[in-house]
Symmetry: C2
Subunit: 345 residues, 2 copies
Amino acid sequence: MRVTEPEARDLAVRLLRQRGVPDRAASIQADVLVEAELRGHPSHGLQRLPRLLLRIERGLADPVAEGAFSWRSDAVLDGDGCKGLGPVVAFAAIDRLLERVERTGVAVAAIRNAQHLGMLARYVEAIATTGRIGIAMSSSEALVHPHGGTRRMLGTNPIAIAVPSAGGTPLVVDLATSEVSMGKVHHHASVGKPLQPGWAMDADGRPTTDAARARDGAIAPFGQAKGYALGLAIELIVAALAGTPFAPQIRGTLDADADCNKGDVFLVLDTDQSPDLAARIADYLDLVRASPPERADRPVGVPGDGARARRSASLANGFEVDPQLWATLTDLQHDQTNSRRETPS
Amino acid sequence: MRVTEPEARDLAVRLLRQRGVPDRAASIQADVLVEAELRGHPSHGLQRLPRLLLRIERGLADPVAEGAFSWRSDAVLDGDGCKGLGPVVAFAAIDRLLERVERTGVAVAAIRNAQHLGMLARYVEAIATTGRIGIAMSSSEALVHPHGGTRRMLGTNPIAIAVPSAGGTPLVVDLATSEVSMGKVHHHASVGKPLQPGWAMDADGRPTTDAARARDGAIAPFGQAKGYALGLAIELIVAALAGTPFAPQIRGTLDADADCNKGDVFLVLDTDQSPDLAARIADYLDLVRASPPERADRPVGVPGDGARARRSASLANGFEVDPQLWATLTDLQHDQTNSRRETPS
């Protein structure tokens, strides 16, 4: 079914408010989920919401916590999420980094005990709109096998980077260091579609294209040995800075039973913020876009272009949501009056 | 032919000294080249030396410059390499970062106008031996086509990361964001060996496995769209911080005709430097190594393991050097007495 952005945002905000999330925090959390939908990443969208609501109801997530912060050193912020909503804690940290970076030029936050962040692109692009470079890294449950290995030992360990450019359209890179997402494996399993060779191992450590068997197995790192190396480095950086466990011990982002113990790292780097630099970057990106494509009907893209185009289309025409998910969310409302104009609780 | 580490180091140091490079600087530059040989990366080893010597003789590289530095902000160091040797300028910057990071917790250097760095691993592992996380990024000549593109538009844009661990063996990741190196393409061309499909395009933008044709073409980014995204992000980060040009305008690392205008970025992050953290990291890496391998005869590796093993073997038994390269280097000596014990010039 097709849903409009205000419909999705309103429903998400209402569901969060009804579980004690303050207005502003509900807006921030809803925004991250809805933005993922708008850009065509439903795996990081509304389907995350029922589990988050359940985590709040069970006391695993604190609806009002905004994190406790202290400066470990001049430019490194130590954050305890105190079970707060991931985006709420993250933006509280980023606000502090953006203030500090004016003096220090670079600033880092390392956060433990916060809920799932959702799509990392949202955080770094918020940093880039202030004219700074933003980098985000997060650790996660073990799902990825080492290059040359067969057992899930690493998280999907995503990294996002945004660099400001002219015209308010930064370069935004957001990638998990796995070849595919486990969400995609589950989706293939549900529709009976085979996986591509090289994507996954089964629980016995054998390469498989059977999505159902891969669900209990492990997904491959992207880009062979190099992607594995990068994912492992992110695993260690996050654990070292945030003091959080490694993938095999991480819980609480894919379940509704355990405290969340993954780590998040944000890095803000000042640039000279000159129009000249922004224009140089924009010109180079345009040069890349204008370079000869491999297929005549597919111009060369720059990371973030597709997401921006999908977002525009979704804002204009709405976006597709699994009807069963929408029904679930609708049913999760405590008050079924369903009014868009209800007064804030 | 087989060469020992002291032989290689002595010859490299002598050649540099004979062109006016001071003792300490010659040692630093020779070390980076010889360490690459010891680890089995000859593309970043002695074969870089003749061109560097020529660059010094032509005034494109300054044998005595150590860079000019100023703190752009509290934790961001602005570096002008003043045409100095890449490793000499880089370690001058890293020394300043290591001092500053005790107060700031994170510090960054952005350097322009320095010669080629060689193997990035050397710099970040030096940082990691002090108990900090090191990250290095460098820009380079356009050799890599965009994902979905055919023309060389990006540098190979390497990134290296080292995270301290117990036992003095940090995790060391060092990767170019290209699928292969142009050096490998040249090597395949010289021995008439075909490339693997997907490695390269020819100058007309057509996929090719003909190494000779690929030399004038473009190499692929590693890991498809994700590796391309990462390489592009590094391209922009370096240009934005160091104020250097983008790949299509970069010169002076593969030639002996142009000033060097690529950029380098180093980032140092303090950790708590506790034995507990170092032990946790070492335990996790051992867990990864002990996880079931894909092939029974090939245990799972951790990035840097192979390089360490090759280094030990090279130190014990020497390493292979192309006899023609060794003859070239020997001939480049001004004084052919060839004494190991010559007094410093």
